[in-house]
């Protein structure tokens, strides 16, 4: 793992993200059930779990597009419920299900979202990101005609526009080929290392999680079952690798969190 100049949790600054006793229920269905965790500045935390475990629900509540039933979410020192706009100004996200408007070009989309996020020296920042994600040749192409890999790069460029203190990535490399996915992982790792940006990352690619994440949270039925270093967790729980541990946990009947946490 690359050494980090901005080591997670080292600075003593406020956590990039602090989620406390988060619950979300839809009638009788408990989608998220008392989840608490933190993401330190510069730390990359993987949020893992089978489909329907509550990962996207947690991300949606952090992004304030879904109100929790109870609990609190703080981004830096800002309470998302009470200071939504300020908290989201220092946050950004990319998700496979949130593609950018296909009827705007790459540069137009970046300009549009740059204004919404109040990015300073926007023209310069857009050029910087077009270069970083090798999007210069696509700048005047409408997003609707881009390949899924190109769209992912544009979405990541948009996600970094405002130099976020917290970055939420929901399967960011799902549609990338292995080489492009590796490049993207390097960009995001560098972002966390160089800027102290905390990252919450969901992925079903356990190889990727092991390579990128400092810590993982295993989620099932809306609860965190297990948390720890993705490189040491499998051995500690009798699994050969992270994927095997994932399958074990996903198959197990739901246990109380206190019985599961290492």
């Amino acid at each position: 793992m690359t050494a980090r100049s901005h080591h997670p949790g080292e600075s003593g600054a406020a956590a990039a993200l602090r989620v406390h006793d988060l619950r979300k229920n839809y009638g009788e269905v408990q989608a998220v059930d008392g989840v608490s965790f933190e993401v330190a500045p510069g730390e990359i935390v993987g949020l893992l779990g089978p489909n329907g475990a509550g990962k996207t629900t947690i991300i949606n509540t952090v992004l304030a597009v879904l109100a929790p039933s109870s609990g609190s979410i703080r981004i830096g020192n800002l309470d998302v419920a009470g200071q939504r706009s300020l908290a989201l100004a220092r946050t950004n996200f990319a998700a496979v299900y949130a593609s950018l408007p296909g009827n705007l070009t790459v540069a137009q989309n970046l300009r549009f979202f740059g204004l919404i996020y109040g990015v300073r020296a926007l023209r310069h920042r857009i050029e910087e990101l077009l270069g970083q994600f090798t999007l210069q040749a696509l700048r005047d192409i409408k997003c609707g005609v881009l390949s899924s890999g190109e769209l992912t790069r544009v979405a990541l460029a948009k996600a970094l526009l405002n130099r976020p203190r917290l970055l939420l990535l929901d399967e960011p490399t799902a549609s990338l080929d292995p080489a492009a996915a590796r490049e993207m992982r390097a960009v995001i790792r560098a972002q966390a290392r160089d800027t102290g940006c905390g990252v919450l990352w969901t992925s079903h690619n356990m190889y990727e999680v092991e390579e990128v994440c400092d810590r993982v949270l295993f989620l099932s039925h809306g609860r965190i079952l297990l948390a720890g270093d993705p490189r040491s967790l499998p051995a500690a729980h009798g699994a050969r690798n992270l994927e095997e541990l994932f399958i074990q946990l996903a198959r197990e009947p739901l246990a109380h969190p206190s019985e599961r946490l290492a």
Binding site: Y26, T56, N60, L63, A64, V65, L66, A67, R84, S85, L86, L88, A89, F93, A95, Y97, A98, S99, L100, P101, G102, N103, L104, T105, Q108, R111, F112, F113, L115, I116, Y117, G118, K142, K158
Partner: protein
């Protein structure tokens, strides 16, 4: 309220218009068709009715003003629907953008696009059919203000409806002006309506505008009280529509509808 996010909403509309000039067509095509149709109807009625009533001013002027109100509503709703059609809700509402900034951007975009329609109306109606607004004098500005205000209120309300009932409810939005026109007494005096329809009409600012317009064309003096009533009603209805939008938005955040909206747009 911050200006940059409002500018972003406007810039997006400009990009869309520039990228696809066909989008400009509805701004004046329907207006043009209505003016040609009602222009000839008015000309025919003037020829068979003899002197006394100027149908061009009464009918064509009314059509023009009512179309303008509808254009404002549809301009605002269309700008909102652009975000529905492009499944952009998650990107927008998971950003620092505040609801008043978003709605203000939509309102300004709608006013700007409807101005184009207004210009086309005047270019066609004044020289081709001899419509003159001089008879309305400075009161025309007041009438336009009321109609713009009511159009904005309808547009915000219609957008809230689409947000609440999902993308499929779009078809409920377009007929709203047609549904309201009988109550607004666009072509006839309020007195011809049955009592219950009159009660509804008194809640609709355009009915005061069209009554006032007909009175001025008949040479009667301007009545300031109904005009004040219309302005106040328009302001109240904008506030109510804004309140409705915020309530619908908060409900969508609470129930998860907003987070799921993109997926529902696909289905």
């Amino acid at each position: 309220m911050r200006l940059k996010p409002v500018a972003a909403i406007l810039l997006r509309q400009w990009y869309l218009l520039r990228g696809s000039p066909v989008r400009a067509l509805p701004m004046f095509a329907w207006v043009g068709i209505d003016i040609v149709l009602w222009g000839f109807i008015s000309r025919f009625l003037n020829s068979v009715a003899g002197a006394g009533i100027n149908f061009t001013a009464v009918f064509l002027g009314a059509v023009l003003l009512w179309d303008l109100c509808g254009r404002v509503m549809q301009g605002l709703t269309t700008a909102f629907l652009e975000d529905v059609w492009s499944r952009n809700f998650l990107n927008l509402f998971a950003s620092p953008l505040k609801i008043p900034e978003y709605v203000t951007g939509l309102v300004i975009a709608s006013i700007a696009t409807s101005m184009i329609g207004l210009a086309v109306m005047l270019v066609l109606a004044v020289p081709v059919f001899g419509l003159s607004f001089l008879a309305l004098g400075a009161h025309l500005a007041l009438f336009l203000l009321v109609l713009y205000g009511f159009g904005v209120a309808l547009g915000i309300f219609a957008s809230a409806m689409v947000l609440r009932f999902g993308p499929a409810s779009e078809w409920l939005v377009w007929p709203i002006p047609a549904l309201l026109s009988p109550f607004c007494a666009v072509f006839y005096p309020l007195t011809v309506l049955p009592r219950w329809m009159q009660s509804v009409a008194y809640l609709l600012p355009p009915s005061y505008v069209f009554e006032g317009m007909r009175a001025l064309l008949q040479g009667k003096p301007f009545a300031p009280l109904p005009a004040l009533c219309a302005l106040t009603l328009a302001a109240i209805e904008i506030a109510l529509a804004g309140y409705c939008f915020v309530r619908v938005y908060r409900r969508a955040v609470r129930t998860g509808l907003l987070a799921r909206y993109s997926a529902e747009t696909v289905s």
